[in-house]
């Protein structure tokens, strides 16, 4: 038996097979990333069949798109096609004659032509199939036709600027993106000072007493708690117990957009708690990396403990601390589950007006669109994912640049 095992491990055949297995696994692991990205790109472009409720030719036979119609004619079209009630509401908000050309275009698309996507294809399904689809569905690519085939970039700049909507054609991620930025801001403002202070306490002040050891173990355990449990914590503490505070009632900020504590500040605070252990651990590592000689020489010239930390240890470690904080923040940007539990709104069409507004964030928008059965919303979700990944990429790139910049500087100094 022993001999057989020995022969098995010694044979060239086994050795080669083993190397092949390892390489295959590595390729599998890296190709997972590749396939993931390709799936998203594949879904963010493709052919669509669009159908207008009111054909363009009926409005102006000589133009290629709604935007090309003259300004005067646009107002005429709006007055002609809109229900009197809707028209009165629009006029009350701002008279049509005072609105910009782009606004009029949007109104016509939203209220008059109301394009509907009947069918959509992914990029792979679209390549080389245009003629086939045109024959099968009897549509043309003429932009003036009420039912036409278009090649669609789902990641259109419009998607960034448009608010959420139940209509695929005009739905966007503006409110979600702003919500994400707000929540990020709140969470880092709360978690960064507390996290760094905790790290300073544990690294510089704490003696190895039982309590401090428990504190350290506790931080490692906190980092391992599923994020959804932080959501429940946020729901009970920030939404229910501190409801009057987080809904803005105490500050007389109650307006029609408050939501019983299910606000940006509750979401930001919840995520702040979530990233706190991550910030603490990375800041501790940064402080540990600051050389002991630095502290000794500072004490040697008579500085106090806090002076040593503030003027010597922190400046030495700050780049690593900030890098860690950015990485923690990028974790917060992608978090979905705790925010759903805290009470993200399913539909936010207006921009958040402050920390006491209802909130939705980019990952939540992606979740809601992905969960819908229609293909079109899945494609919108893919486009939103691209935006989210770009946001994360730029944050991480910033962290890496910062780290490289400072590590070069440090090498020069030493």
């Amino acid at each position: 038996m022993q001999f057989l095992i020995h022969r098995f491990f010694r044979s060239n055949h086994t050795n080669r097979l083993w190397v092949a297995t390892m390489l295959f696994s590595t390729v599998l692991a890296t190709s997972a990333l590749l396939i993931l990205l390709l799936t998203i790109i594949n879904n963010s472009f493709g052919l669509v069949i669009v159908e207008d409720t009111v054909p363009l030719t009926a409005m102006d036979p000589n133009v290629q798109s709604v935007a090309d119609i003259s300004r005067g004619r646009k107002i005429e079209i709006i007055e002609e096609h809109l229900l009197p009630g809707v028209l009165r509401r629009l006029e009350r908000e701002q008279p049509l004659s005072q609105r910009s050309n782009e606004e009029l275009t949007t109104i016509i698309i939203e209220e008059v032509t109301k394009p509907k996507i009947i069918h959509s294809w992914s990029l792979l399904q679209s390549i080389g199939r245009r003629q086939h689809i045109m024959n099968e569905y009897g549509v043309t690519i003429n932009p003036q036709d009420p039912t036409r085939l278009e090649f669609r970039f789902w990641l259109h700049p419009r998607i960034l600027l448009a608010p959420q909507s139940a209509e695929v054609e005009i739905a966007g991620i503006r409110a979600a993106l702003l919500g994400s930025l707000w929540v990020m801001l709140i969470s880092i403002l709360l978690a960064f000072p507390v996290g760094v202070a905790t790290a300073i306490y544990l690294e510089e002040y704490a003696r190895p007493t039982l309590l401090n050891r428990i504190m350290q173990t506790n931080i490692y355990n906190l980092a391992g708690i599923p994020s959804i449990i932080y959501g429940l914590l946020g729901l009970v503490v920030f939404v229910r117990l501190l409801g009057p505070l987080t809904s803005g009632q105490l500050f007389q900020a109650t307006a029609d957009y408050t939501a019983n504590g299910r606000t940006i500040i509750s979401a930001g605070a919840t995520l702040g708690l979530l990233i706190l252990p991550i910030i603490i651990i990375s800041a501790q590592e940064a402080l540990r990396a600051a050389p002991q000689t630095l502290r000794d020489s500072s004490y040697g010239v008579g500085a106090t403990k806090w002076q040593t930390i503030w003027y010597h240890v922190l400046p030495n470690a700050i780049d690593r601390i900030i890098t860690g904080a950015i990485l923690a923040l990028s974790r917060a940007v992608g978090e979905t589950a705790p925010l759903v539990v805290v009470g993200a709104s399913t539909f936010v069409a207006i921009d958040p007006k402050g920390v006491f507004s209802k909130f939705t964030t980019l990952p939540i928008q992606i979740y809601q669109w992905s969960a819908r059965p229609e293909d079109e919303f899945r494609r919108l979700a893919a486009a939103a994912i691209v935006v989210l990944l770009l946001l994360l990429l730029s944050m991480n790139a910033f962290a890496i640049i910062l780290r490289n910049h400072y590590s070069k500087k440090r090498r020069l100094l030493l």
């Binding site: 491990f9 010694r10 086994t14 050795n15 390892m22 390489l23 295959f24 696994s25 590595t26 692991a29 890296t30 997972a32 990333l33 993931l36 799936t39 998203i40 879904n43 507390v194 202070a197 544990l202 002040y205 704490a206 428990i214 504190m215 506790n218 931080i219 355990n221 906190l222 391992g224 708690i225 599923p226 994020s227 959804i228 449990i229 429940l232 914590l233 009970v236 503490v237 708690l273 706190l276 008579g302 106090t304 806090w306 990028s330 940007v333 992608g334 979905t336 589950a337 759903v340 539990v341 993200a344 990952p363 992606i366 979740y367 992905s370 969960a371 899945r378 979700a381 994912i385 989210l388």
Partner: protein, 314 residues
Amino acid sequence: MFRKSRVLSPHWYRLPVVRSRERVIHFAIRVAAGISLLITIGIVAILLSQSILFFGNAEVTLRSFFLDTVWQPLIGRFGIVPLLNATVMTSLIAVLTAMPVGLCVAIYLSEYASERARAILKPTLEILAGIPTVVYGYFAIAFITPLLRILFGIFEEHAVQPYNTASAGLAIGILILPLIISLIEDALSAIPNSLREAAYGLGANKLQTSLQVVVPAALSGIVAGFILALSRAIGETMIVALAAGAGPNFTFNPLKGAETITGYIVRISGGDIAYNTPDYNSIFALALVLFLATFILNLISRRVVSHFRESYNE
């Protein structure tokens, strides 16, 4: 230049203003550090108190909670078995697919790969670790499920339901792969080189050295990685919320839909729900089970790791 007394004992340190400032700062930092303890206390207190409310219902007993195989709040049946079963299934699928692949990649990175290969592979895997989980959820429904439907469609046309635990499990597997790789690689590279040199000295080849010497020596570290990955998989939410199905279902078939504990919590709390109803309280009881499970797994894994470190730090 300086008077001697000034150098030896800086008298300005004895100034009350400096001393009180030091004290205030020390106090403030202590308070900040206490917040991390408060989070844990808060979590435990909330989960416990709401769970006690839940078990205070006449309909619910501890026995029925853990043994009843039906979860239907509408008819007052709260049996955790179907939810727990789905959680165990997705996590096991994830860990059992990710573990062999992760082990191979980690051995490759630690024992075989050139510096250049490592320099390319490690950042790539780090990118994989930084992608939000909701994106993996999307990936599960947009790629893995259609793939499974094509693969299993050969045998039986509707074998794979549109939402199923297999695709969620595979997506979680990809999610935890970078974690597994980095944990195992750490364990492998912690093995002192003297062990490898001794093996080579006895005439072992590279395969023998890696699989018969290094891997057994790092076994406890590998086990710790396995446990940590399992705990991460159990707590994963968005992937199962999107891909595993919405509705408790007691089945052992991974191609059918079944809601997990986390999936249920997200679905219930995402809807409009009245506070202090049995429905609402039930999510806290479920979260308590989840919390205890991940907490114990993390604790075991940390114990194993520290034990492992001690045995090689002489």
